[in-house]
């Protein structure tokens, strides 16, 4: 393996480190078991980074081709979540609104949609059953981050009498990190990625959110983190995310 020092930090590495910081954050629900979807290499790498930093945590990669952890078929992920055995999940959305409602179905007036997205997958269940959800969407635009989603695949908050184990913890985009305050159903700007201003975020975000007096820059991955990412994390990622690894860290020498 070549010495990773001196290579520039990739945007993906920043996002991985930002998500890892959210996972590490003290919380009523410590993360002992995270589940990550097949199309989510950045959240997967963030979980692996935490593991290599010493966080005792199980990671289940859904639809993993090798050593898939599930032996009861497709329902097992949802059953596991129902049993309270999954602490952290990741969701995205074709649209995400200021109350953390997510839309995976389409824009326009359902069912006569304008743009059709794939569909809700398990979001309408996992958002309730898992104590912590980190929302992740690289595209940060008014197209994606809207005032009110056209279709609620899964609601960000629920009335007090509706069974729900948790709420969204945060929203990570390609430009910033928002914390989510469930009691007010509102996002608060937590940090700005390098080179991005609060004014940029206001301009590119379709929903209202709170801006604290002092918004820090999203911390860069530390040299130790970069070494882990470019070494053991990358090695573990190759099986399920070869394209991602090649794009971010370069093709491996044969």
């Amino acid at each position: 393996m070549s010495d990773p020092a001196g290579q520039p930090i990739a945007p993906e590495e920043r996002l991985i480190a930002a998500i890892a910081a959210l996972i590490a954050e003290p919380c009523d629900h410590p993360v002992r078991h995270a589940a990550v979807g097949a199309a989510s290499p950045i959240p997967a790498a963030a979980c692996m980074l935490r593991q290599h930093e010493g966080h005792a945590m199980r990671l289940s990669l859904l639809q993993s081709r090798r050593a898939n952890p599930f032996t009861e078929g497709g329902r097992e992920l949802f059953d596991l979540a129902g049993q309270g055995r999954i602490d952290l999940f990741f969701l995205g959305g074709g649209q995400i609104d200021g109350a953390a409602n997510i839309n995976l179905v389409g824009t326009g007036t359902y069912p006569q949609v304008e743009a059709r997205f794939p569909g809700s997958f398990g979001s309408a269940y996992m958002y309730f059953a898992v104590p912590r959800t980190i929302l992740f969407r690289e595209e940060h635009s008014r197209r994606v981050l809207v005032e009110k989603v056209d279709f609620i695949s899964a609601p960000g908050t629920s009335p007090a009498n509706v069974w729900r184990r948790g709420t969204p913890q945060a929203l990570v985009t390609g430009r910033c990190v928002f914390d989510f305050v469930a009691s007010r159903a509102r996002f608060v700007l937590r940090s700005l990625h390098p080179g991005v201003s609060a004014a940029d975020i206001v301009r590119e975000t379709g929903f209202g959110f709170d801006i604290p007096a002092d918004v820090p820059v999203t911390p860069e991955p530390t040299p130790a983190q970069l070494a882990l990412l470019r070494g053991p994390v990358r090695a573990a990622m190759e099986v399920n995310y070869p394209d991602f690894c090649g794009r971010v860290w370069g093709r491996r020498a044969a």
């Binding site: 497709g74 949802f78 179905v105 949609v113 569909g119 809700s120 997958f121 309408a124 269940y125 996992m126």
Partner: protein
Amino acid sequence: MSSDFALVSVDELVARIPDGAVLAMPPDYSLSPAAAVRALIRRGAARLSLLGVPISGYCADLLIGAGAVGAITTSAVSLGEYGLAPRFTAAVKAGTIKVDDATCPCVHTALQAAEKGVPFMPLRGVIGSDLLRHRPDWKVVDNPFGNDDPILLVPAISPDYALFHAPMVDRAGNVWVGRRREVATLAHAARTVLVTAERLYDGTMLEDERLAPGCIGAVYINAAALAPKGAWPLGCLDLYDPDEAHLALYARAARDETGFRGYLDAHVLGAA
């Protein structure tokens, strides 16, 4: 020991599925019956109601593009890393198919209810999702064991036909599906179960304690056809991986009607 089980050809297998039937299939990552779907298109199937267990992909998109589908109940239709399912997306825009949007555990739960022979099963979550507003068949009741605790009840689904691909079938009709137990639940819930298989196992799989746990018993299986590489271009457990180049080719070709027709001619209608 007697049984209605029959070993037939792929064309005979899909000839059993009449136009208008409710046809349930597993997703791209789980024993997807691509060879049988091509045969269904060649036989000119029409007005099918698809059920994605719990989501749909290449096979559903192919059937939709070929005009074989009137409706689909599913939690998503996607080509995964190859992007949106282009013929599904186009059909929704054109208003030529009816979509009943679901969420994955609702599909599993509805099939488990049918497996158990009960009219419904409860499921947590979902309340507050707009899915619920468009599914009058789902009901929210107050949990009889709780107090002011609304909970979703999902009605049982017994699809007319289940169709999937499996690594092995034996002459008695037992089918080995390994850890992909969602197709077992589907087989238990469906009225008629049709299977393509990579190969014939010479023996009775249920007599082998090592093979039995991955089997669906013959009591559920109506017919099977041998179809080596029958999941292609999708993968089949550890036997072969998805054909990534071909799936990328499909995703490109199917972006428009002309490209899709060309794909059909080259890879479906031309193939035996």
